[in-house]
Each structure stands twice: as C-alpha cells, then as structure tokens.
Symmetry: C2
Subunit: 334 residues, 2 copies
C-alpha cells in the first residue's frame, strides 16, 4: 500500500471519528423528547443491543430499523401528501388535458369538489395517481417531485411539506444511526415519490427506501437507455405487503420497527417476533393543538388493531402530546 | 457525550483504520490479475473516480458497482448451479413423492435422462424450480440452501460450489470496496438462493443482493408471523429486467457494471450511459483448460450482442485465459 492510500485511509478514519463524536454528542440527548417512559424504553433498548457485554448485543450489520413514513416521520393530514401532490399535478397539467374538465375524478379536482372526489373511491384515486405518476421516464418524474417538494405549501400550515416532519423522529433516526443502526423507510407511499428528497430530509439514502411502486419498462431511445413509468401497479407496500417487501429488499429481519397505524401492524409483528431483544414503537396522534388527534375511527392512518396488539406484544406507544417536547422544528422550543 | 461513547467511537475508528490499511494492502495489487490492458483500465477507472482532484471524481455514496453472478463471479457449467440444486432437491424429496417416478420432468431427473429433461424446456424447468423452491417458509428455504451449499459437490471438479468462484473477481470486489464502492449482485438467479452464502463468500450482505424471485405470503401461524414461499413467479431479473430491478432496489444508477452474457446487456447499457465516467466490463470465457470456453453459440451464458456492443460502447472485455493468472483459489498459484 502506498503512502497516499495510507494518508487517505487515515484522513477517512479521523473524519469518521469526528463525525461519530459530533453525531453522538448531538443525538444522545434526544432533545425534543420529554423525559418519559417511552423515551427511557427506547434508549434502554439501544443501550442493550449495542453493548458488547450485554446478553442482548446485536452486531452492527444486523441493527436494522424500519420506519413507516406517513404519520410516523411526517404528517398525513388533511390527506396523504402524495395525494395532494397528485391533485397539484392535475391542476398543473389541466391545460394540456381539456377533456379533464368533463371527466371524473379530474373534474372534481379542478372544481375543488371534495365530496365527489371522495366518492370516486379507490378507483378514482388510482386514476389520479396513474395520470400524474406514469407516462414519463424515472428521471423526469424525479425532477417533477423535486420541483414540487421544493416549492409546494401545506394547505393549513402553509409550510413546505418537508417542514412537516417530526423533529423527535429526526433526532431518533440520527440517534439510531450514531449507534450503528441502518435506518430504512417502509411506506405505503410511492418509492419514487420519496427517494428524491428523503436523503436530504431524513438522512436515508435511496437504496434504503421501500415503498409502493408502479411498473417500469426499459427502453432505448436513440440508443440511450431509459426507464419509462407505466400506468400499472407493481406492488402495494401496505399491511401484509410490508413484511413481504422488507424481506424482498433487505433479506433479513429488522430488530426495530416504527409505525403509527394498522397499515404497520404486520411490519411490527414481523420485526418484533424475531429472536433476541426487539423494539416495536407506535406513534399515537394525540395532539390536536400542535398536530392532529386521531386513532380508532380515522379513515387516514387508522390505529385500532395495532393499538390493541401493542399491549399484548409489548410495543411502546408514544403519546405525541405527552412524550414530545416539540413536534415540528418550526415551533419555538419550550 | 459520555466517556464510554467517546472511547467506543475511538475504538471503532482505530479498528476502521486498521481494516482499511489491511484491505488496501491486500487488494491494491489484484494479485490474480496479469499485468494486462484490462487490469490497467479497471485500475485507472477506480483511480479517476476516487481522486478528489480528478474531474471524474464520484463521492463515495454514489460509487455503486453491480455484478452478475452466474458466469461472472462463479462458474455456470455444466448448468446453472441453481438448477443442479433443484435436481439434487428432487432426488432428496423423491421418497415423499412416489408420483414423480411417472411424472415429467421429475422422472427424467430421477432417471438421469438429460435429453428428456432438456426437452421439457422452460416449462419443465419452471416446474422443477417451483416443486423445490416453494411451499416452505423463507427461513426453512434458507436452511435448505445453506445445508446444500455447505456439502454438495460440483459434478466435474468435485469441489464445493463455493470453491467455483473466480479468485480475480473476489479480489476485484474487495479492491472496489476498499475504494469506497458499494458492491451489489444483480443476477438472474434466485435472490433467496444467493443470500444465505454470498456474504461469507463474496462479502456482499443480503440487502445488496438483487435477483429473480417467487412470491411470498405473510401468515400468522399460532400467532407467529412467517413468510411462505408460493409457486408463482414474482420477478425475472434478466435482460431488460436487470435495469428495472436495479432502479427498484437501489434507486440510483450504478457507475460500474460487470457481466458475462447477453443477459447482462441492458444492465451494462444502463450503468454506462449515465453522466460522468463509467465502467462496463464483460468477463469472456476463453479458457477451456482452467474453466470453460464459450460465447456466441452457447445456450448457457450466450455472449453475442453484448460482445458486439462492447466495442461501440467502450466496455472492457476480460479474456479469462490471457488476463487472469489464476481462475480458482484451489489452483496452485503460478
């Protein structure tokens, strides 16, 4: 090995050390978490699986943690943000599609007729998604998402959507990574809707994002290869689909799972039923002042069966109102 | 940050440094590669994309290299090793399936009637695969593969199948990782057939393995979640499927791709058409003495279109006979 390589390796290691020291210093205290039982249980799990002297020790490469996105890392009200994206896209594309003015569910979107839109049901929503998410290359779609996420505003807070992420969860992601965890998103949302921005916002690289998807087709256009997005469902990453997708993408069982709804039930079951110490966490929306309050009766993010099972299976239920000192970074700290 | 955390971080960094120094020292010379033009081109590509002062510099997180498996990392003669696994499984399971003695293609396997087996075509092979790869949980299948790969012998060399890996490619994988690359397998073979052993043999963890797959179903058995393997194709990771799967799993374009057959053509096109400096490599089977020699006319691992395109697109064609000092670790070094 040459001198240059040795120097580069040394630099890398010194850089790594500094990074670890700083990351640990920032993350150790989880500053937006109150000194609650939930916080205590999470910290004690991490201590147990990372201490080489502990009977619960897990080697770093098996420290895999999976996070739902909508309602777990960012808000999902008044509707899933990806649906709001689709609605914005319909408005943007309407001038190229005069037929939409007389065709549902597009007409309902253009006339802000939410009742008719809701009545169009799953079929209507699927049509909206296909019209706005398919027909372009993967690179074109990525640019569309980046442009939208960089400028569009949340309808009630008037914040950028990327400001609607939960500060305590950002700290938790960083805290876990500082302790050798590999953090994944496992979301019912579209994989290609998340990838353009989650690295910047959550520190999660594209290859650690799992989600729902439509099919793509490989084509050569004037000799240049492209992937074209097709109006056909490939995979729905929700409920029973989550463990299936985790196995497909990761190939080993996570030791920690974080969700907020019945859509995360099977993922929580799968992750926490493995051998050794495991962590299951449910984020419960209890704070109507700072965020929203909803659970068993909600259409979006219903938390019912998973809440019943939390007690039986020993999952932690985080109470947003009680356990979080602040919800969003844009709030003034307490 | 506490003293303990600082100490742990320091230890980790010192460990990392030692690892890097040793890995670089071992890998830098690619000892099983002759001092050929192919080797020179690979080394100069790696130097260019890892030198921060180079116009071709690529940050470490974008240094993604994808490798085909059959015929690129290990042999594929006299047949794909996964097919030999399926044949061994049919023999093992035959006592539980007396009906197989009168049913094709099982009868052909049990009577070693290769002509009839070949005549059963894709449909017959699919039936063999489904009968031997489905019907159990993912964990049960993983154990079956581990048992087989740990004991079964290659029909002509009488070596373990994991000894039939190419020593120069093992060195190349390590060399790339020592230079900050993330190495992936992208194989037409089954993802779950590879994951149990590729980490030990290639140093590639389960989450960096992409392959063909059958569907799985999530079930609770006495309250315990399992994934059951179903006799239904989920995805064929070959030809046009390779870039599709790369995009699905990784979400960014590799900067280097290694293959050996027309099944890798689209993956090579996709990886090397991206912006900036790219590396496409074809391993050409030219060594009938130490391995096998085949290309344009072969049924297994046909290399025809990709060979034509290599010249146009500037891909390196590695000549196994000329470029490799040795092929397998079990050969005595020259």
């Amino acid at each position: 090995m040459g001198f240059t390589t040795a120097t580069a390796a040394l630099r890398l290691s010194v850089g790594m050390l500094l990074f670890l020291v700083l990351a640990a210093a920032r993350a150790e205290s989880l500053p937006s978490w109150n000194d609650s039982e939930s916080r205590h249980q999470i910290v004690s799990f991490v201590a147990a699986v990372t201490d080489p002297g502990s009977p619960d020790f897990v080697p770093a490469d098996a420290r895999i943690a999976v996070f739902d996105n909508d309602g777990t890392l960012w808000s999902e009200r008044p509707a899933y943000f990806q649906l709001l994206f689709a609605i914005d896209r319909v408005k943007t594309l309407a001038s190229e599609h005069p037929e939409w003015r007389q065709r549902q569910p597009f007409q309902a979107v253009l006339e802000a007729d939410l009742r008719t839109l809701a009545e169009s049901g799953e079929k209507g929503l699927l049509e909206l998604v296909m019209a706005t998410h398919a027909g372009m290359t993967t690179e074109e779609f990525s640019t569309i998402v980046e442009d939208w996420i960089g400028t569009a505003r949340h309808p009630t807070s008037n914040r950028l959507y990327t400001e609607m992420v939960y500060q305590p969860m950002l700290e938790l992601l960083e805290y876990l990574r500082a302790h050798g965890f590999k953090t994944y998103i496992v979301s019912g949302g579209g994989i290609e809707f998340m990838r353009p921005w989650v690295e910047r916002v959550y520190g999660i690289p594209p290859e650690q994002v799992i989600g729902s998807s439509i099919k793509t087709r490989f084509e050569l256009r004037d000799g240049e290869p492209v992937l074209v997005r097709l109006p056909e469902i490939n995979f729905i990453d929700d409920k029973e689909g989550k463990p299936v997708a985790i196995h497909q993408h990761i190939g080993r069982r996570p030791i920690a799972a974080f969700g907020n709804s019945d859509g995360d039930l099977q993922m929580l079951q799968w992750a926490t039923a493995g051998e050794g110490r495991r962590l299951g966490v449910i984020i419960r929306h209890t704070d109507a002042d700072r965020e929203w309050a909803y659970d068993r009766e909600s259409l979006i993010g219903r938390l019912d069966k998973a809440l019943d099972e939390a007690a039986e299976r020993g999952w932690i239920v985080v109470d947003m109102k009680e356990d979080w000192g602040r919800v969003f970074a844009f709030e003034s700290p307490e």
